[in-house]
């Protein structure tokens, strides 16, 4: 893709089309986090509503639920057919969001936008597998991963910029335009590619969509509507387990299910590793952001700059890893990557609160570890997957990755909330000893804010240590992957 001189026109067109799809991925990833920072302030020009907390989840739930369908439809009808629907639904949702008159309308339109976003994300990573041979997918996958990372990591700062400079609606205009640009680039240059044309198993599709939707809903409602350890939480978990059993039962009986059945032990391990790394790694990223904001300085741009350091840390190992993974197999990369992530988490525990330099250093090492894992796992899985089933396997892996991120987020969130609220000891103002009650109240509130910053940091540093133990175990699991992906390559 980079060697432009030796490229044929078809290769060049395909490469540019991939940049178009990457632009779509960037917009879809941004949609996820665009207004995450101070939502009640962001949409302050809408009438007050208790449903404000649903604005972010509305997009996340529909996006994750639609990801496996987006990928599966690529298998059935080809990339271009799905390409026209995903981005257009996203653009429609964005336009409607711009003209929202109240919070409830915005929630509904964000849900529609998420449907488009989910189709795009499912399609994008599958398209790489469809258009490129196994040993040429690395750069394209890096492009998609980088677009996703930039979109999701910088969305908060970009959203803050748009809201403080213009209006939150301006952010949606940008999303719609970026998506449209990506769509035109990809559609114009992407070669036609036929799918299997098999009929879609609607029941199975509905069940899988419901399963991922409910799982995503759970991650968004726990800590908000109910506690992690509560009856409501248990009921939703039971529903998820029941749905999972139902999906498996139905998929075994389906001719062409949405999730792959009868997969190898290697693929099972890859899925589990992707889930747990997403949970312990990617799921923590948001808290690195929050800790920086509350512990160091409440400057959203500086906090986002730290992500740039993390991406820089990830860049070199990812470039090398993705290039060599087809020669060495996944095992060394994920094993070493897991060890580096473990080291970075231990470093975070001991050093992150020392200074902003150490905080950034921890993020750099953390990024380096993740750079050896995430994209390599996708490339490895696709290397053993026949092109005709690329969407089924990739879509499933991507949705699992997203659920992993959200579970990590929810678990860390629940723990930190417990630390913040459980460890709070109210300072008592003794009126008999107080010189100025107003001053004492002011100091008290300031101390509370200070406490929340410290408690968030304390909760986070304990959590990363637990996550470090998990990633150390994952390093061992990764070592057991052997050379399956090299010995079972599926070159077509």
């Amino acid at each position: 893709m980079m060697d432009l001189k030796n490229m044929t026109i078809e290769d060049r067109n395909r490469a540019v089309a991939m940049w178009g799809i990457a632009a779509c991925v960037f917009a879809a990833a941004m949609g996820w986090m665009l207004m995450r920072f101070g939502i009640s302030w962001s949409v302050a020009d809408l009438p007050e509503s208790d449903n404000m907390v649903r604005i972010i989840p509305a997009y996340i739930i529909s996006e994750i639920a639609m990801m496996p369908i987006g990928a599966k439809l690529v298998d059935l009808y080809g990339v271009r057919k799905v390409l026209i629907f995903g981005p257009l639904i996203f653009i429609l949702g964005s336009i409607l969001s711009i003209v929202s008159l109240n919070v409830e309308m915005l929630i509904a339109f964000r849900f529609i936008e998420g449907i488009g976003g989910g189709l795009v994300l499912g399609l994008a990573f599958t398209a790489v597998g469809k258009y490129y041979e196994a040993d040429k997918r690395n750069q394209c996958h890096e492009l998609m991963t980088a677009s996703f990372a930039f979109g999701s990591l910088f969305a908060a700062a970009i959203g803050y910029f748009f809201t403080s400079t213009f209006n939150w609606r301006a952010g949606f205009i940008m999303l719609a335009l970026v998506m449209m640009l990506g769509l035109i680039m990809a559609w114009k240059l992407l070669p036609e590619q036929e799918g299997t044309r098999k009929p879609l198993d609607w029941t199975n599709t509905a069940l899988v969509t419901l399963l991922f939707g409910v799982a995503a809903y759970y991650t968004q409602s726990v800590n908000v509507d109910y506690k992690l350890l509560s009856v409501e939480s248990a009921i939703v978990v039971v529903v998820i387990i029941a749905l999972l059993a139902l999906v498996f039962w139905h998929s075994k009986r389906s001719d062409d299910p949405l999730i792959p059945m009868g997969i190898t032990l290697f693929e099972k391990k890859v899925i589990i590793l992707m889930f747990l790394f997403s949970m312990c790694g990617l799921g923590l990223i948001q808290y690195y952001f929050k800790v920086y904001l509350t512990y160091y300085e409440f400057d959203i741009y500086m906090a986002s700059l730290n992500f740039l350091i993390m991406i820089l840390g990830a860049a070199v190992p990812s470039l090398i890893g993705c290039k060599l993974v087809m020669k060495t197999g996944i095992r060394p990369w994920v094993t070493v990557g897991a060890i580096v992530v473990t080291i970075s988490l231990v470093m975070t525990h001991f050093l992150a609160s020392e200074s902003t330099f150490f905080f950034a250093l921890c993020l750099f090492v953390f990024g380096a570890g993740l750079g050896m894992i995430v994209t390599e796992l996708i490339i490895s899985l696709q290397s053993i997957t026949p092109k005709k089933d690329m969407g089924q396997h990739t879509g499933n892996l991507m949705a699992v990755r997203m659920i992993g991120i959200l579970v990590g987020n929810a678990v860390v969130g629940a723990y930190i909330k417990e630390v913040v609220q459980g460890g709070y000891v109210s300072e008592i103002i003794d009126l008999s000893a107080s010189k100025s009650i107003l001053a004492d109240i002011g100091v008290h509130i300031a101390n509370d804010l200070q406490y929340m910053s410290s408690a968030l940091n304390d909760g986070f540093t304990v959590t990363v240590l637990i996550m470090a133990v998990v990633t150390a175990i994952l390093a061992v699991v990764a070592y057991t992957l052997k050379r399956f992906d090299l010995e079972n390559r599926c070159d077509e």
């Binding site: 939502i39 026209i84 109210s426 509130i445």
Partner: protein
């Protein structure tokens, strides 16, 4: 004409103190009828345009219009047409209900002060620009020089000024009739200061810490400035061990837990409130979160809830505050047969005494002014205000039993309702979809349809 309102926040604090003093003197009934009809106490006080003119005539020998004309002649050296208007009405009420073994006592002080003035003048004025007093020049001489010697340009200026203060404080106290202990107190406080100026003449005064004018900036552009300081706090106090019904003298160690239900502030208010709290602190608190919070709220036209905004930024609510105190409480009957509960709270090196009358009560202006800290109201200002209050007949407030006085009740209700409406208007946000975004959305939609159609027909 626009003048900076450096003292607005002090006015709000002074009003809050006055209200707290008035309501802390509110009676705690012990002998309320155990039926559905609440006992009602209350009074109103206010001042009309003609009363203020009478008051000014007593002091200066001329009414408000004449006074302004005379000031204009003294300082501007030519005629100024002006139409000043002043209105002020306050209501102080108290409803006592006996419900399910609980006394529910609702005390409310609400009212407004409104001042407007239309000014028009033709003549020589200073050129637009910034002017500073000369070395050793007094503020009076500086203003005089500015509008006489420096007045070199012919201008026709007009300006409509509006200034209003609205205040609303409600305290709902629930007392367990059997134990005589306070259960909880709901406090709702809603102050606002609004200043508007429309016209073709702007006067910006820069004032130093001592209140001396350091510079005056004059412009002759059409302007419409509105400064809107508004806050609406609802606070709940859960009280333990504060017995207020009994006979003799008893000791209590009350524990009061404060939780904020609502803390809505306007963007013009938020910085001032924090500045005021900070100014009271011995050590400055540099919290980046506070800085960001002020920035965020200041950037929005909508009045935002401080605590909800913090929660949405940190995912954690602000914890409650607990107060403890040592109190000695005495049941007391004065020479007129009026009964009180006197709460003596031990303070650093002394004590604070709160008198809670049982029935109708009377409070003097000096009682109120004494309670305002000197940092808010200087000794000299206090003396002048006390004198002025005496002249307009506000030297004391008699909150009498008005249960059988429907006319008085109606007057009180009218003022409360007027303030209710004003508060509602202040917080009701008029939603408008910005036209630029509507148009952009339509353009993007058309673009998307065109792109889709071209793609469908294979033109792209």
């Amino acid at each position: 004409m626009r003048v900076r309102m450096d003292y607005s926040k002090r006015m709000i604090i002074a009003l809050a103190v006055v209200a707290v003093v008035l309501l802390s003197s509110a009676p705690v009934a012990t002998e309320s009828d155990a039926d559905d009809t609440p006992d009602r106490y209350g009074t109103t006080f206010g001042i009309t345009n003609s009363e203020i003119n009478e008051f000014l005539e007593k002091i200066f020998g001329m009414n408000l219009k004449e006074l302004l004309d005379s000031l204009a002649k003294e300082y501007i050296a030519h005629d100024v047409d002006c139409e000043p208007f002043l209105g002020c009405d306050f209501a102080l009420s108290r409803d006592v209900e006996h419900n399910g073994g609980m006394f529910i006592i609702t005390d409310r002080l609400s009212g407004y002060v409104y001042l407007s003035n239309y000014v028009m003048s033709d003549g020589k004025f200073p050129a637009a620009g910034t002017y500073e007093p000369k070395e050793g020049e007094s503020t009076t001489d500086f203003i005089k020089r500015l509008f006489t010697t420096e007045a070199t340009e012919q201008h026709s200026v007009n300006s409509v000024l509006g200034f209003s203060i609205t205040f609303d404080l409600t305290v709902e106290t629930t007392i367990d009739a059997a134990s005589g202990e306070v259960e909880d107190v709901l406090i709702s406080i809603c102050p606002s200061v609004s200043f508007s100026s429309t016209g073709n003449f702007t006067l910006d005064l820069a004032v130093d810490d001592d209140g001396n004018i350091t510079s005056i900036t004059i412009t002759y552009d059409e302007s419409n400035d509105v400064s809107d300081m508004y806050a609406d706090f609802q606070i709940k106090l859960d009280v333990d061990d504060l017995k207020v019904l009994g006979e003799g003298t008893w000791k209590c160690e009350p524990v009061i837990t404060e939780s904020v239900i609502k803390a809505v502030v306007s963007k013009d208010m938020v910085g001032g409130v924090w500045e005021l709290i900070s100014s009271q602190m011995e050590e400055k608190v540099n919290s980046p979160m506070v800085e960001l919070l002020i920035e965020i709220i200041s950037s929005s036209d909508k009045k935002l809830d401080l605590f909800k905004t913090i929660e949405s930024l940190t995912s954690n609510p602000i914890p409650d505050i607990t107060f403890v105190a040592d109190a000695e409480i005495t049941d007391f009957t004065d020479e007129h047969g009026d009964r009180y509960v006197i709460i003596k709270i031990a303070r650093d090196g002394g004590s604070t005494v709160i008198n809670l009358p049982m029935e109708g009560y009377r409070i003097t202006a000096s009682d109120i002014l004494d309670a305002i800290p000197e940092s808010v109201l200087s000794k000299e200002a206090r003396e002048i205000i006390e004198l002025a209050l005496g002249i307009i007949g506000w030297e004391s407030f008699d909150v009498a039993d008005i249960t059988d006085n429907p006319e008085k009740q109606q007057k009180i209700d009218d003022i409360h309702e007027m303030v209710d409406e004003y508060n509602k208007w202040n917080e009701d946000y008029e939603f408008k979809l910005p036209m630029v975004y509507l148009v952009t959305a339509i353009v993007v939609a058309i673009l998307a349809v065109v792109v889709a159609a071209l793609m469908w027909r294979g033109r792209i």
